[in-house]
């Protein structure tokens, strides 16, 4: 079915995809303010879905040794260490030979570590260690850490405490899912719950979904050749069960339920956090008017999205698809006209 907002704008995806009596749209609300970084979600997901492991690797990215969402990690817990004002408390690590947390230096090193996830492109290192240092320096970049002993640096009087940002990332199950729209085999499909799932018996590994995703979620298993990602436990939710990650989460940082309810709950939660002085709390992916029509899995964050590895303002690529076909049509006509002139022009 093709509706007015089929490519862009607010939409209930399941009826648009052709389910006349679709159940309520289901999703995740991940409240990162109460995530304790236990990675039970990662483990439960792997256990339930039979996702392959890739051995033990140490990435030097705080406690994150997963690196990114890949075909072999459908939940990914991000860890960010940042200095924050110590207030009246005595500063953390004060008087110790190591001085305050060396988060920026550690982060810059962590930015360089590569890992073989068994997938492509997997968790690539990036070219910007300075950007990693800026992330770990807190809301304001403090400059690149030096190589001298921290205890001998000037400015040690103003040492900070540190905070840990932890967030369990997952496929967003977008209202307008680019991966699904560009899939040439129909392997990716919209479920009656409004989620997006790959049919592994159909996928032929063309790889088109991978650069189409504005969040960098979907990925290809190297040996297997096919694309894999979170299914929002389609097999479980169809039977009325909670997805494995939400079931395993010990703090209810990951909440599963009808999206409408989750959005209400999230709005209340962010209001309460703001009122209690946590001014950095904000929702991400909750707005049906955003570039992807709102996410089926959305988040409460305590810093800018890019610090968590999320794009600050993602837009589904198919928003511009009608315009792209139009431009291609004009170019095609120009091409035909050029050939006609070359053969039948006056001088010919």
């Amino acid at each position: 079915m093709v509706g007015e907002n089929s490519l862009y704008g607010p939409l209930d995806p399941a009826p648009d995809a052709g389910y006349p009596d679709a159940p309520a749209r289901m999703g995740f609300f991940t409240d990162t303010s109460i995530c304790i970084g236990c990675k039970a979600c990662e483990v439960a997901c792997k256990e339930w879905n039979g996702v392959p492991d890739h051995g033990l690797d140490l990435l030097g990215m705080s406690f994150d040794n997963t690196g990114a969402l890949t075909a072999n990690s459908w939940r990914h817990v991000a860890f960010i260490e940042q200095p924050v004002p110590a207030g009246q408390q005595s500063p953390l690590f004060a008087g110790t030979p190591t001085g305050p947390s060396g988060a920026p230096a550690a982060a810059a090193r962590g930015a360089r570590t590569a890992i073989d996830t068994g997938t492509a492109p997997g968790a690539d290192p990036g070219p910007h260690p300075e950007s990693a240092a800026r992330m770990a320096a807190g809301p304001e970049f403090l400059g690149m850490p030096s190589s001298g002993l921290p205890g001998r640096q000037p400015g040690r009087e103003g040492r900070a405490d540190m905070r840990w940002l932890m967030s369990s990332d997952v496929c967003k199950h977008c209202t307008h899912a680019a991966c699904l729209d560009v899939c040439p085999t129909g392997a990716l499909f919209r479920t009656e719950f409004g989620t997006v799932v790959v049919q592994q018996d159909i996928c032929n590994g063309c790889g088109y979904c991978i650069p189409a995703c504005p969040y960098g979620v979907i990925d290809q298993r190297k040996e297997d050749g096919r694309a894999w990602k979170c299914t929002l436990c389609y097999d479980r939710i169809g039977g009325g069960l909670t997805p494995a990650c939400a079931q395993a989460c010990p703090t209810q940082s990951i909440q599963y339920g009808p999206l409408d309810e989750l959005r209400e709950r999230a709005a209340e939660r962010v209001e309460r956090l703001q009122a209690s002085g946590e001014s950095t709390a904000r929702l991400y992916g909750h707005d049906p008017n955003d570039g992807v029509g709102g996410d089926g899995a959305f988040f409460l964050l305590l810093d800018e999205p890019e610090v968590y590895g999320l794009p600050p303002d993602p837009v589904v690529t198919t928003r511009d698809l009608p315009d792209m076909w139009k431009r291609a049509g004009i170019a095609a006509l120009t091409m035909a006209a050029a050939a006609a002139v070359a053969f039948f022009g006056r001088s010919a």
Binding site: A78, M135, P139, M144, S146, G205, A281
Partner: protein, 389 residues
């Protein structure tokens, strides 16, 4: 769009002031271990500029697109870069060559240029055969190629392309097979084939030529319809690059294979095609601000610069060398090479833009800042609104 004014360390929006840490402008990092690649070489440059200028990221005398300050998760890419191997740029090139050649063949057929027709038909069939091979070879599961034929989806340029290929391929092949008619014996079982083939070949050639513009330009939509920043942003120009490039490479076939008496239209096509390709590429390489940068740097930059030189030289040679068989042939080869280099250059530039979080974060931040600046919400209340999207 310039990245100059951007400062990602937005203390105001984040609402927290760090109390301590090392002061800015400390010793650049040249860590002890020699095995490690130099951390922050680009940052040192940035620090040097910062020292001279008055504030972060400001100050005159900087390059057109200064390094933008932005934050990211351990400097890692946000997007997943395409997993496509060299098969795909090779496919973009051979598809364009096949399309242009079948148009050249149809034109030659209509205007009575048999040598050019023969060469162009054979080139078209060979190129589309190569295309099909590249396309299947790049799949993670090549044996499941036929799954592409389960659906026809206008939202998937690859699906549309599969169907274009499925119609164009047999037509182009039949037109090429028709060129063998004169070699068949006049009598016996091949007798009727010898008489029917030329007619069938002409009809098939026209079918292929009619599909050709779609074949040459849909590939631009294919790569633009992704989250890859420098591909997506280039979507208005990309079809013109690919169309021009397809015409230029086909004219190269004409110049290489046809005698001087028949290659007039190929010369004109060379000029028009190369002009289209160079002009549209130029707009991509210069008109997209920060997102043009990947096309001017590294491998992509080298490939595209070489492509431009070869295109211009090939077009000039096509015009000036119209009395020399040798100059014509060399010009033709240059045009074909230019078309291949263009496709690889555009491909590499896009991949580079996906691998670097700068090209994802900075333009999106700028877009957010613009929309926040335009929105009438009160200045106090916009913290969560702007950041929550």
């Amino acid at each position: 769009m310039t990245a100059g004014e951007h400062s990602a360390g937005d203390g105001r929006a984040a609402g927290r002031e760090p109390a301590g840490g090392e002061p800015a402008g400390g010793e650049p990092v040249g860590r002890e271990s020699a095995a490690e690649p130099p951390v922050g070489a680009r940052f040192r440059e940035h620090q040097a500029r910062r020292g001279r200028g008055s504030g972060a990221g400001r100050g005159g005398g900087q390059p057109a697109v200064p390094d933008a300050e932005f934050r990211s998760y351990y400097g890692r890419p946000i997007l997943k870069a395409p997993v496509w191997r060299n098969d795909i740029p090779a496919y973009l090139f051979s598809g364009g060559l096949a399309a242009g050649s079948s148009m050249l063949a149809a034109g030659a057929d209509l205007t009575g240029r048999p040598a050019m027709r023969r060469a162009a038909r054979l080139a078209s069939a060979a190129a589309i055969g190569a295309s099909t091979f590249f396309l299947i070879h790049d799949l993670g599961r090549p044996k499941r190629f036929h799954h592409m034929l389960r659906v026809a989806k206008p939202t998937s340029p690859m699906s549309m392309g599969t169907w274009i290929l499925a119609l164009f391929g047999p037509a182009s092949a039949l037109a090429a097979v028709a060129e063998t008619a004169p070699m068949l014996p006049q009598r016996g079982v091949f007798g009727p084939a010898r008489r029917v083939l030329p007619v069938a070949g002409t009809a098939a050639g026209y079918v292929a030529a009619a599909m050709a513009p779609a074949l040459a330009t849909y590939t631009a939509v294919l790569i633009a319809d992704t989250a890859v920043p420098s591909w997506h942003e280039a979507y208005p120009q990309l079809p013109f690059v690919f169309a021009g490039s397809a015409l230029a490479s086909a004219s190269g076939v004409g110049l290489l294979a046809a005698p001087l008496t028949q290659s007039g239209p190929a010369r004109r096509l060379a000029v028009v095609g190369a002009a289209m390709e160079v002009a549209a590429s130029h707009r991509i390489e210069t008109g997209m601000g920060l997102l043009s940068e990947p096309y001017t740097r590294g491998r992509s930059g080298r490939l595209l610069r070489a492509a431009r030189r070869l295109s211009v030289a090939g077009a000039a040679g096509a015009v000036l060398g119209r009395r020399s068989r040798l100059v014509s042939a060399v010009s033709g080869a240059a045009l074909i090479a230019a078309a291949a280099l263009t496709r690889f250059g555009i491909f590499e530039g896009g991949v580079a833009s996906a691998k670097d979080p700068k090209y994802t974060v900075v333009p999106q931040r700028q877009r957010l800042e613009r929309s926040t600046a335009m929105s009438p919400s009160p200045p106090d209340g916009d913290v969560t609104e702007s950041a929550g999207r």
